[in-house]
Symmetry: C2
Subunit: 233 residues, 2 copies
């Protein structure tokens, strides 16, 4: 029974089925693979199966490290939070830096826009960012810190989502900006032709079209101005 199995000596007995060297796995490797997929082909391209395949592993292996797809998405977001390190002197600069850094991260990882604000951010990297902000706001009334930081965060979430949504819509039309305007233009033209949106029409026609950077900064400045006025009192 030790040297003979099924009546075959070792020599004729086939080797065990060549266990394919269980690929070493870790939460970090999984998240990195998922982010790579999302960066390349968008969030829809992130499926547990594709991630597992990229790591040369069966789908269910992942469940040893994460408890479902949602947790993977949470980990992805927190991983990006590691790249968002607000800095600067004084609360205003720190908040502005937080906003710009978040926007920058979303430019590099467009899928972030789909996830921003979708769940409470409690990962270590998000908390670390919160710590920096809280420290920078140390000088102001303790009761004002949360609502103020929350307001900036809210603005950033919405502004980034809008911006990315618009960028994607442009890209979906044709690949250049000309096509987009060539398609949206006529649509709005027809909408305006109904005469139901006169004020909107004059705004769209007569207003200078600001680029995304300026638009983002103007809104942010307004918010920070308002916060400053409130905090100063």
């Amino acid at each position: 029974m030790r040297c003979i199995v099924n009546g075959m000596l070792v020599w004729e007995r086939p080797e065990p089925p060549e266990r394919p060297t269980p690929a070493p796995l870790s939460r970090e490797r999984i998240v990195r693979a998922a982010i790579r997929l999302a960066d390349a082909d968008g969030l829809d391209a992130v499926s547990l199966r594709k991630v597992a395949t990229a790591l040369e592993v069966g789908p269910m292996r992942l469940y040893g490290y994460i408890d479902g797809k949602q947790e993977l998405l949470d980990l992805m977001v927190d991983a990006v939070h590691a790249e968002i390190r607000p800095s600067g002197d004084g609360w205003r600069e720190v908040l502005r830096s937080l906003a710009e850094a978040t926007r920058h991260a979303a430019h590099e990882h467009e899928w972030l826009a789909d996830l921003l604000g979708g769940r409470p951010q409690l990962g270590p990297n998000a908390l670390a960012g919160g710590e920096i902000v809280a420290a920078a706001l140390g000088g102001v009334d303790v009761d004002a810190v949360m609502p103020v930081a929350g307001a900036v965060n809210a603005y950033v979430i919405g502004a980034v989502r809008r911006e990315i949504a618009e960028r994607r819509a442009e890209r979906a039309t044709g690949l250049d900006k000309k096509r987009w305007q060539a398609l949206l233009g006529p649509y709005l033209e027809r909408a305006f032709a109904t005469g139901r949106y006169p004020a909107l029409e004059t705004v769209v026609r007569d207003a200078a079209h600001l680029n995304a950077d300026e638009t983002f900064r103007i809104g942010l400045d307004c918010l920070l101005d308002g916060i400053e006025a409130r905090i100063a009192q």
Copy 2:
């Protein structure tokens, strides 16, 4: 060939398969059914199949009215926009009303938070809302209208998403607020115990916990204050 098919006289030939009275369909009926599903069980419960089943119709019937699931979602959002009619005297009141109405709509249709800001809103109801805002901002510099309205919109999107996300997280824990704090509390406790978030810790510990209404209003007021200052100049 007229009265005899397959060698069977009418008398023995079965009736045609009792076409189940093709249910009358319309984009509106489809959207209403989808919204009903989403209100009841969240956005994940909205599938073309479930919508079709609710309307007693095959899944592919829907494709005569919409071009895919994304268009259905767009229609759902625009349908809710019909309930968001900003009103009031002066641009500030109109913008505040827009914000509150959007938030209110998201309270009644939580799934709206998942969609807000996800795509450009170009439906007739969204445009109608834009028209009201544009008209209310008629007095101010034309170049300022878009960035200002956009900033408020961005804030609302982010604030609403955050609020709904938090509400859902609470609900997911146990069904009451006690459970949520009982679970989040210890988690933050342990996080704080690492000593890596001292400033955050004092804020969370010492600050008064504002309710969602107040938090939303404070951020909105800050933003509107900042806008007012910028417009006045």
